[in-house]
Subunit: 340 residues, 3 copies
């Protein structure tokens, strides 16, 4: 339990109301009850603050008079995320190492681990402190996993993978499978290009369920610090994704794609090989990125173009039948076509 | 072995032919042999009934004179599905609980189970009667699985998941991983929004291989009774899919999507967050649903529009070079452009 | 270590330089060091051969004078792939069968196996010689796996699957789950069409991480010899993919699709059910193949059309605002519209 004063401080909000009010948990606006802190996520909630049953509501400036305790924050969504962490985040406690752990020779384990049942680790690995490995996790040879990382059930990590600290990998993800590289031989059979590189995932990344991140042909496939991947994402060999970029589900990066920092890549996006997406770019869902994208651009469509010009084309696309009618009328007026 | 009389009754078809004929199995029209029942799936098969070697053929009305035994059903595809079940469906027999089952404290197991080798179940779970768990299945804490459900190999189920009765989950699926929710902090780092909700899968759902169904931020991500998901589908946090809706492979529902009952969602469809798709709507493959869809609508394209208007635009799109030529000719006729 | 003479012979290239030079490994052009063989992958590298630190560079004809040892090959990419294999390919050595292997009755194991920990095999299977099974692999009943095949961690193989020789299946893939087939019953509930067929994967196929290849309704879902699938690919029931065809990530083939030999199918492609793609066809990324595709065609767009006409339409699509302006001007000139 926290007082509202404590919470206000933790979430960096200004409190208008009773600093001694007690807060037990967070809940969405409509479902909130006394003891809850909530967040006026929807603009329409702003006019209904008095109807809300929460003990306190996080809002954006300006403050106002209300029967509710109000927490005013420049970024209320961020403040709410922090409130959730403060009230519901759990403190890590090591659950120990399951006696059935299988490890190869030369593997070194850290302290205060939570290695659950049925985990298999290869040889010459380094597992940091306070690492959590869930059942069915398979780690290959010569892998490194940094402190405080969490790898969920049935994740497969191939040999030589580097995983940083505080990384979360969700169930079923595959890290380090061979990049997709074949050359047709003289007889039409595909000759495999052996993939000699590896995958490196830097600190604070989160990787969604059933993602596939391929090892590099040479060198590294690289997820830089703080990258967040949703589920079912494909990262081709030798791709590099910049710091704090977020990527939604079912997107695929072809080999050698370079994505900048703090980009927002929506779902089901695809890219050509070796393209570059500049820092801070935003790519809309289902876009097909066939050329380099400048920093800060907003892109949409296949092939992807600037969002504004895509929107103009898209509006006209939906009016194509009308455009065709207008052309026909002009042709009649010009005597190029007979009236129907 | 069944007589044709029995089969006709089971599949609710009218029999024209020998009620005592014996049926052993089902096979497709072209491959059928004596002892088989088959189905004139293709209209062209209707004219070739006498060539078919099957003992009986399921057709749509009207009946006709044929050397084959005929089973006339209003919905022959449905009748054939029932014939396959009648002839090839197996009766469940519990294979017992593998002695290597790992379960946490407080977990309660039902009767007549088929828990194969290398299954791991957490604490405080309730597993119903006649549940089948294949090797490598990992169930978290506080999960419930209803009677007669089947969970295939290497499925990962996170804590607190609710799975109904007669649910089938195919191999590699991940149920209950964290919803994808981050807020950029003042320093550009992504702050994780802890996901406090869970996944609920109601009775008679089927979930394809390597699907990913995320837990809710608050409350539930919900698959209602009889939902059928193909493989590699993403269901974002707090999505809700209505009864008996079918969804084809590689489709992704963003967070908070609400899909109605008896919808047909084709493959590689994507949706925006928080959109609603009305009951009975049909969405064509690769469509991008950016706005609410009315009940019964047929949608296509990105952004999705009504199928009919999409088709008109699409036809004109493929004729754009011709439209451009016509404009150029008009410009020449109007003296706005020189003749080439 | 190899001499350059040996390498030239192995990769079928003509050597211009010192045949006794010693080669230790392969590296990319920019990163190469003495002892390396590399490949002028990028045309711009051709003018910078003297800057390269590699001991030898593979180039396309014609030969030229250079301070580097040159290996001239008609297909330098193919020659480089072979050099990588020659220098970095490992010789298989059986690691034996883990004592914790679980197998059902009637299963027959080959010789010189590498069955790692925590593998589960059903009954009546045949496992060939020199097969590698990684931890967490689950093989159902009555499966066959040919010689020299490699199945990576946490792969799930359903009953009755046939896998040829020298097949590689990457982690998390699911082979043989039920095809997606339901018929709405009179009450709107979906009736499952039992899937009685199986999956057959012929020799020399490679299947990417987290792919899903469904069993056939009747008969077989078939990957012919040498098919290469990238990650996260859906192959629907009764699909057939021809010899040496390559398919990029996140593509989905609907039920009954027939893809020819030596096709190149890019990423995120979708197909309708029962379509045919002719031999040697190329389908661009994100295309939606709704009709049969002739052999050798290059297709793009949704619905897919010939690449050339798609390009023309696409260029005009991006110029639609300009076309609309031109129509408006014509209308003004024709007195059909007032000047703004």
């Amino acid at each position: 339990m926290h007082t509202l004063r404590d919470i206000a401080q933790l979430i960096k909000a200004e409190l208008f109301g009773d600093p001694t009010a007690e807060i037990i948990r967070t809940r969405p606006f409509e479902a909130a009850e006394p003891g809850d802190i909530t967040y006026a996520a929807n603009p329409s909630y702003r006019g209904r603050l008095d109807d809300c049953r929460a003990t306190a509501v996080i809002i954006s400036p300006p403050a106002e008079t209300s029967s509710r305790n109000l927490l005013v924050a420049a970024n209320p969504k961020l403040a709410f995320a922090r409130a959730i962490q403060a009230l519901h985040g759990t403190v890590y406690t090591g659950q120990g190492v399951s006696p059935d752990l299988i490890t190869g020779v030369g593997t070194v384990l850290g302290r205060q681990l939570s290695i659950l049942a049925r985990v298999t680790i290869g040889r010459d690995c380094e597992i940091g402190d306070r690492v959590s490995l869930y059942p069915g996790v398979v780690i290959g040879d010569r892998c490194r996993i940094g402190d405080d990382s969490v790898i969920h059930s049935n994740v497969s990590v191939y040999d030589d993978t580097r995983i940083g600290s505080r990384v979360i990998i969700h169930a079923g993800a595959v890290i380090g499978a061979d990049g997709f590289a074949f050359v047709p031989g003289e007889d039409g059979r595909q000759v495999k290009v052996l993939q000699l590189g590896r995958v490196r995932i830097e600190d604070d990344c989160e990787i969604g369920a059933n993602c596939a991140i391929d090892r590099a042909a040479f060198g590294e496939t690289l997820l830089k610090g703080g990258v967040k991947l949703d589920n079912l994402i494909q990262v081709g060999h030798n791709s590099e994704i910049g710091e704090h970029t977020v990527v939604a589900a079912l997107t695929g990066f072809s080999g050698g794609a370079r994505v900048g920092r703090r980009c927002v890549i929506a779902g089901q996006v695809g890219t050509n090989q070796h393209i570059t997406i500049g820092d801070g770019a935003i790519v809309a869902g289902q876009a097909g990125v066939t050329k380099n994208v400048r920093a800060g651009a907003m892109m949409a469509g296949t092939p992807a173009q600037e969002l504004n010009s895509w929107r103009r084309s898209q509006v006209l696309y939906s009016r194509l039948p009308r455009l065709a009618d207008r052309i026909a009328k002009l042709e009649i007026a010009a005597g190029l076509r007979e009236k129907k």
